[in-house]
């Protein structure tokens, strides 16, 4: 099978959908000839034209609301926000409008839109261009939240997100854009709410999201040399969350570590830890649940400080050993 980068997989998912569904279009800043801040839509305006690759003014409040209005009247817009930090400006439309319209209207009307946006640190872009704010969105009933970690997952999850009749926040991690995996040429859909076991293991379960999936897999490879078998689960979607896969894994390994880049305090890891604490898997635990997350600090510019603000492979290795009471 051919390999694609994560970035190419996102583009291909959109292009294939747009070829067969006239209602799907993209709007966002600099997504036209410029190709988007990270180049995801490069070449698309040439194929689909400026009506369907709609270059917008720098108006996150208006373009998010316009996506809501277009979705409410029958279109299936994909909104690209240049950096996920700017979701603050689109927040009212996502939280107060998109998420609530169907419920407030007593089940009438729907808002089938996808808000795609690059998140995460590691590019030296500092505090206002590096955040991981997915827990905010996961907190809001009415939204779905997707965080793919591989090219294969990105393509299939984006297809599912576009097909979904609800507003979906689709977080693309910037450092994942260049990662590659085997990606089928044909369209396929990965259901929202289905976790993926990225690596099987019997000693400890790591639930990790986005770039932390890759770091956890690195840590697992290292620990294997010492005979420690780590299971790595990528929930892929935070809402809906595949609690069953996580519970079953913890019942098998009796140990759980949750890793995400987002600030640990109030982060989604707390939700996963609580889910296990409230489940039948609690009785199987042989060690306290550990959470690894970003430090409670704005992401700094200096590259060494930036790296230190979020969990590293070494941190994950150490956490696994600690959980297993090994030095």
């Amino acid at each position: 099978m051919r390999e694609l980068t994560y970035l190419e997989a996102v583009r291909e998912a959109m292009s294939q959908e747009m070829r067969q569904n006239e209602d799907v279009f993209i709007l966002g800043e600099d997504i036209g000839v410029y190709g988007g801040a990270f180049g995801v839509t490069r070449g698309m305006i040439e194929e689909f034209g400026p009506e369907r690759i709609r270059n917008t003014p720098i108006s996150e409040a208006a373009i998010s609301g316009t996506a809501v209005g277009a979705a409410l009247t029958g279109m299936r817009p994909i909104l690209e926000l240049q950096f996920s930090d700017f979701i603050t400006i689109a927040m009212d439309n996502m939280v107060n409008q998109a998420a609530k319209i169907r419920y407030m209207y007593g089940g009438k009307g729907k808002v089938p839109m996808v808000l795609r946006t690059p998140a995460g640190s590691g590019t030296g872009a500092a505090a206002q261009h590096s955040q991981s704010l997915e827990a905010w969105m996961a907190h809001v009933p009415g939204l779905k939240v997707v965080q793919p970690s591989t090219a294969y997952d990105a393509k299939g999850l984006l297809k599912a997100a576009i097909d979904d009749d609800n507003p979906v926040i689709f977080y693309e991690h910037k450092l994942c854009y260049k990662t590659k995996s085997d990606v089928p040429e044909e369209q396929y859909s990965i259901p929202l709410g289905k976790a993926d076991v990225k690596r099987e293991g019997s000693d400890v379960t790591i639930v990790a999201t986005a770039i932390m999936v890759h770091k956890s897999l690195e840590a697992a490879a290292e620990l294997e040399k010492e005979g420690i078998q780590v299971e790595v689960i990528d929930p892929r979607t935070l809402v809906p969350l595949d609690t069953e896969t996580i519970i079953q894994s913890v019942k098998k390994t009796s140990r759980l570590i949750v890793v995400h880049e987002a600030v640990k305090r109030g982060g989604f890891g707390g939700e996963i830890a609580s889910t296990i604490a409230e489940s039948e898997a609690f009785d199987y635990l042989d060690a306290p649940i550990k959470r690894l997350g970003g430090k409670a600090v704005p992401i700094p510019y200096n590259p060494e400080l930036e790296k230190a603000a979020i969990p590293t492979v070494d941190d994950i290795v150490a956490a696994v050993k600690e959980t297993l009471n090994r030095q």
Partner: protein, 327 residues
């Protein structure tokens, strides 16, 4: 009628008696709601548009059935003018399953998406970009409909106003922004909150027409909005129409109205939009006194019946709580 109000041909055929009826329906609906809040028969909050009937009815009178509206927190009048059933509206305020939102939305979220009412809105300025998005659908699918976006004087100070009007202008979208300037944003007088005389002047900043009309004169509203709607339908883009009016009641249910004088209120009561329409129709021989009284009595009866309908309707059950969050 042509010599009297100089209406465009389509508007000349308007059922002017029907407009009078709608205005009475709004008046009686609002007064009933006011009474029920005072008696504690309805909970939550509500914002009444008594005195503003002409801007709602006149604006919507020039629309075609396929056209759409977005409304505001003070939206009962818009809903009635767009053809909402008062039974379902009253039932919604009573929190019943027969209400427009099955009792889950209440006063600020009445919507009828199928019939082109994209919803009242509890967020001031929340409708600007939703209307813009609905107009984008019209344009992209060549559906030919126009969207009327109602907003208040206060909302024109929200950032969402600037972003959405600019976007609608550059994309030449078929949307008309109708400002109902009722002189106060809650307690804030327009004169203290902006340094322009007319909100319509702001249109110039977006390169679109801005027009002031007498919001208590239904014909003036029809002329102004009708022209803007025609322009929008012809693909010439958005306009702002500012209807100067006045809300007779306070902002919401608990308002001592300390920010204005009783004299000022009396001045505006003398400009009662319903009495003005009635008098013109009688003077012009389009309506007898008796017919006018009958229209008023019919409207009163319909609202009284809506109360019975609402009271006789079932309450939602706890099983309904978690329904309709996702499509």
């Amino acid at each position: 009628m042509a010599q009297l109000v100089n209406l465009p041909p389509r508007v000349q055929e308007t059922d002017l008696k029907g407009l009078l009826k709608q205005m009475w329906l709004i008046r009686y609906f609002e007064e009933k709601v006011d009474e029920f809040f005072a008696k504690g028969m309805i909970h939550g909050t509500t914002h009444l548009a008594v005195g503003q009937e002409a801007s709602a009815v006149g604006s919507i009178a020039v629309l075609e059935g396929r056209d759409k509206i977005t409304s505001t927190h003070r939206g009962h009048g818009h809903c009635i003018a767009k053809g909402a059933e008062v039974n379902k509206m009253m039932a919604e305020l009573f929190g019943r399953t027969t209400g427009y939102c099955k009792g889950k939305g209440g006063s600020m979220h009445i919507a009828d998406v199928e019939k082109g009412n994209l919803g009242a809105n509890g967020i001031v300025g929340g409708g600007f970009s939703i209307a813009t998005g609905a107009a984008l659908t019209s344009k992209m699918r060549n559906e030919g409909y126009v969207v009327l976006c109602f907003f208040g004087d206060g909302a024109s100070n929200e950032g969402s106003f600037h972003e959405a009007v600019n976007l609608a202008s550059i994309w030449k979208l078929p949307v008309v922004f109708v400002c109902e300037n009722n002189q106060y944003g809650m307690s804030g007088p327009v004169k203290e909150m902006m340094n322009v005389e007319d909100i319509a002047q702001r249109a110039e900043a977006y390169g679109i027409p801005g027009k002031v009309v007498d919001g208590n004169d239904v014909f003036d509203v029809m002329n102004g909005v009708g022209e803007a709607v025609e322009r929008a339908r012809n693909g010439e883009g958005p306009s702002i129409v500012e209807a100067k009016t006045y809300r007779w009641k306070g902002h919401s249910k608990s308002d001592a109205k300390k920010y204005r004088t009783r004299e000022e209120e009396q001045e505006w009561r003398a400009k009662d939009p319903i009495a003005r329409l009635r008098d013109v129709l009688v003077q012009e021989g389009l309506l007898t006194e008796e017919e006018a009284d009958n229209i008023k009595a019919e409207a009163k009866k319909e609202i009284e019946e809506s109360v019975e309908f609402a009271k006789d309707s079932p309450m939602p059950t706890i099983d309904d709580l978690m329904e309709d969050i996702y499509a």
